[in-house]
C-alpha cells in the first residue's frame, strides 16, 4: 500500500475517532507532545493506559463481587480510571466513569454493575480503535501528524 493511501487512511480514521467521540481534544495534546526526542510518546502513554485500565477493571469486578461492597474502594478505582481516560482523551470512557461515580455515591449496586459493563464495553471499543490506528501508523512508517 503506498504512503499516500496510508496517509489518507490514517487521517480519515483519526477523524472518525474524534467524530464519534471516542477521542477528544486531549488526544491531540498528546500527539503534539510527541517529538524527535520521544518519537514513541503517544504509543507509550496509550500502552500505559491499556495496562492500567485493565488492572482497574479487574479490581472493579472483584470489588463489586464482594458480599459487602466497599463503595469507597470502588469509587477510588473509578476515580483513577476517570483520571487516566480524561488525560489521554478517551472521552466515552471518561463519561461512563462520571455516571459510575454517581452510583457509587448513592451506593447503588445495580447501577454500579451496569456501569461496569458499560465502561468495559467503551474501553474495549477505544482500545480496538487505537490499536487499529497504531497499526496503520506502523504500516506506513512515521507519518507526520
Amino acid at each position: 500500500m503506498d504512503v499516500v493511501k496510508l496517509q489518507k487512511q490514517l487521517v480519515d480514521y483519526r477523524a472518525s475517532l474524534y467524530h464519534e467521540a471516542f477521542l477528544d481534544e486531549q488526544f491531540t495534546q498528546l500527539q503534539e507532545l510527541q517529538d524527535e526526542n520521544n518519537p514513541d510518546f503517544v504509543v507509550e502513554v496509550v500502552s500505559l493506559f491499556f495496562e492500567d485500565s485493565e488492572r482497574l477493571l479487574n479490581e472493579l469486578a472483584k470489588a463489586l463481587e464482594q458480599q459487602s461492597i466497599d463503595f469507597k474502594r470502588v469509587d477510588a478505582h473509578v476515580h483513577q480510571l476517570k483520571g487516566s481516560s480524561s488525560s489521554i482523551g478517551a472521552q466515552r470512557v471518561q463519561k461512563v466513569c462520571i455516571t459510575f461515580r454517581n452510583y457509587c455515591e448513592e451506593q447503588n449496586v445495580e447501577g454500579c454493575l451496569k456501569c461496569l459493563q458499560q465502561v468495559k464495553h467503551e474501553y474495549s471499543l477505544v482500545k480496538t480503535k487505537l490499536e487499529t490506528m497504531f497499526k496503520i501508523l506502523a504500516a506506513g512508517g512515521s507519518i507526520p501528524m
Binding site: 486531549q26 495534546q29 507532545l33 502513554v45 493506559f49 483513577q80 483520571g83 488525560s87 489521554i88
Partner: protein
C-alpha cells in the same frame, strides 16, 4: 523574561532549567506532566504520593533535622489534589510549615473545578491552581507566571 527591580531570595532561583517535583498517584498523569514540563525545559523528578514527595524533599519522618540551613533541591512543586493517604492540600501545608521549603512555589492540580477547593489551596499559600487534564499551554502559562513572581 528578564524582570527589572530587585530579585527575591535566590534560594529558589528559577533559572533557565528549573527543577520541578511532580506528585501524582496516577501513572498516566505522572508521565504526562513529566513530558509537559520537560517540553518547557524543566528538569523533572516525580513522586507517586505525598510521603514519597516529603522524603525526597528531606522532610520525611526520619529526617527531622537533616535539612537545617540547606537550600531546597527543587524550584517548584506541582501536585495533584486528590491522592490517597496524604492529599495535595495536606502536602502543601507540610511544605509551608518548613523553614527551608516554604518559599518554594507549590501548584495544585485537580480534575474538579471547585471554588471552595481552589480558595482553600490559595489561602494556604498555593501559587496556582490548575485544572486537569493539563495542556502544553497551561504549563507555558505556569512558567511565565512563576518567572514574573521571581522579581
Amino acid at each position: 523574561m528578564a524582570g527589572g527591580g530587585c530579585s527575591k531570595d535566590t534560594a529558589v532561583d528559577f533559572g533557565d532549567q528549573p527543577h520541578v517535583l511532580a506528585v501524582d498517584d496516577n501513572l498516566i498523569d505522572r508521565k504526562l506532566v513529566e513530558k509537559l514540563l520537560k517540553n518547557s525545559s524543566c528538569k523533572v523528578t516525580t513522586a507517586e504520593n505525598g510521603l514519597r514527595a516529603l522524603e525526597y524533599l528531606g522532610l520525611g519522618n526520619d529526617q527531622r533535622s537533616a535539612m537545617e540551613g540547606t537550600v531546597s533541591k527543587v524550584n517548584l512543586i506541582i501536585t495533584d489534589y486528590c491522592m490517597p493517604g496524604m492529599t495535595g492540600y495536606e502536602l502543601l501545608k507540610k511544605i509551608k510549615e518548613s523553614s527551608v521549603l516554604k518559599e518554594v512555589p507549590v501548584v495544585i492540580m485537580s480534575s474538579e473545578n471547585s471554588p471552595t477547593r481552589i480558595s482553600q489551596c490559595l489561602e494556604e499559600g498555593a501559587q496556582m491552581f490548575m485544572l486537569k487534564p493539563l495542556k502544553q499551554s497551561d504549563v507555558k502559562q505556569l512558567k511565565c507566571h512563576l518567572m514574573k513572581c521571581r522579581s
